[in-house]
Subunit: 237 residues, 2 copies
């Protein structure tokens, strides 16, 4: 049971990067928020906060969660514990808290770690956002998935055997979180004769967006990059 | 090559149904549009137009594409041929045309049929939207997909063997376009011992949204309904 004198926890999707690709609801709720929380990279830059900068009230209380970019769960868990505790304090004081989440909060989002820690105690509302996946398809004016096709979304961190089997079974494929896996995944798609059909996108919807056929992609990819593959010949007619 | 004296074709995602879940960009571009096109069901109701009603200028030219709800491709193709021809006339006259698309234009969207007919002739821009998939996860405050999980999106129209194999291989599953397939899919998930973990949603983000565990879902489902399944025990910790 939630307590009506407590604040509401909002998980707010900020979309892929362009501040205009934020929903009207996410923008309004952020403008009205007295407390805004967000993850940041080491060094203090927060992509989610940059997207929403023009919506955050000047006098809003801000809670930064500096998520360490090292492998292993323990350091990140400590940050989410600490962030959740700061958010809990505000909610108990009766203030609504908006947690900003790149893309959509429930689609590979770190908001889920905050949600797990607080949802049994507080009223919670999630505002869905545009995922980077559909923004990447838009960057190419190309179908992500059509008709009665099966779409499979794969993190690039999966091993070759898993990637290979799942690619074979799908009509349309999205490979997320490419980063340092680019060379390996490109080789895999070449070995299957699918590289020519694959599309590469980084920084979808931002001014420095790159959208190229995979065969013309750069040799190194940032974490926020993606490969799209539509295996059919023409999804559209 | 596109002609600079011609208008631009915009494919605009309207999101899952709540007019506040439209992006700021989609709203602005629709407000500025002199010509707005959209699919409608037989009887004239257009879900996409209803979502965007408050953004469409009173003097905008409107192009309605009455998509027949019968099986077989030919009748729908004739409607898209006719709609594309009306849009072509406006674009050639130098007017931008906004085509409204429920959800995201490139995610199982009928916009792709218009795109196929016009993209080689005209400058085209696509504005991604919130998909019903993430709106359904939000309705349950539940992870759609997390960490390094594989997500598979399946149209409910697929046969049992395909659904079964793809469900077995995925960590997270979305089954779209449930409609009259509800009973069959529910039985399939029960036979796998997965019905208890499955979530049902219809009309996500609308006032008459239904969000229930699948075991408590109604016996009949509308076309705009979905089943979500997260096979892991706890995606969040």
């Amino acid at each position: 049971m939630t307590n009506p004198t407590q604040g509401t926890l909002y998980g707010v999707g900020t979309g892929p990067g362009d501040p205009e690709l934020v929903t009207r609801k996410a923008w309004r709720i952020t403008q009205e928020a007295g407390v805004v929380a967000y993850p940041s990279a080491e060094g203090g830059d927060s992509f989610a906060r940059r997207i929403m900068a023009d919506a955050i009230a000047p006098d809003a209380i801000e809670i930064e969660m500096p998520v360490p970019m090292v492998s292993g769960r323990a350091p990140a868990q400590a940050i989410y514990d600490d962030g959740a505790e700061q958010i809990r304090t505000q909610l108990k004081a009766g203030r609504d808290v908006v947690v900003l989440c790149e893309g959509d909060p429930l689609f590979y989002g770190s908001f889920m770690y905050i949600l797990a820690r607080l949802r049994d105690e507080f009223s919670t509302r999630i505002i869905p956002g545009v995922t980077s996946m559909t923004a990447c398809a838009s960057a190419h004016n190309h179908a992500l998935v059509a008709r009665n096709d099966v779409l499979t979304v794969l993190p690039g961190t999966q091993d070759d055997a898993t990637l290979s089997a799942r690619i074979d079974d799908a009509d349309a494929v999205v490979i997320m979180k490419i980063g340092r896996h680019l060379g390996r995944i490109k080789s895999l798609l070449m070995s299957k004769g699918l590289a020519e059909k694959s599309l590469y996108v980084s920084h979808a919807s931002l001014p420095h967006q790159q959208a190229e056929p995979l065969t013309e992609a750069p040799d190194t990819a940032p974490y926020f990059s993606m490969i799209l593959l539509y295996k059919g010949d023409d999804p559209w007619i």
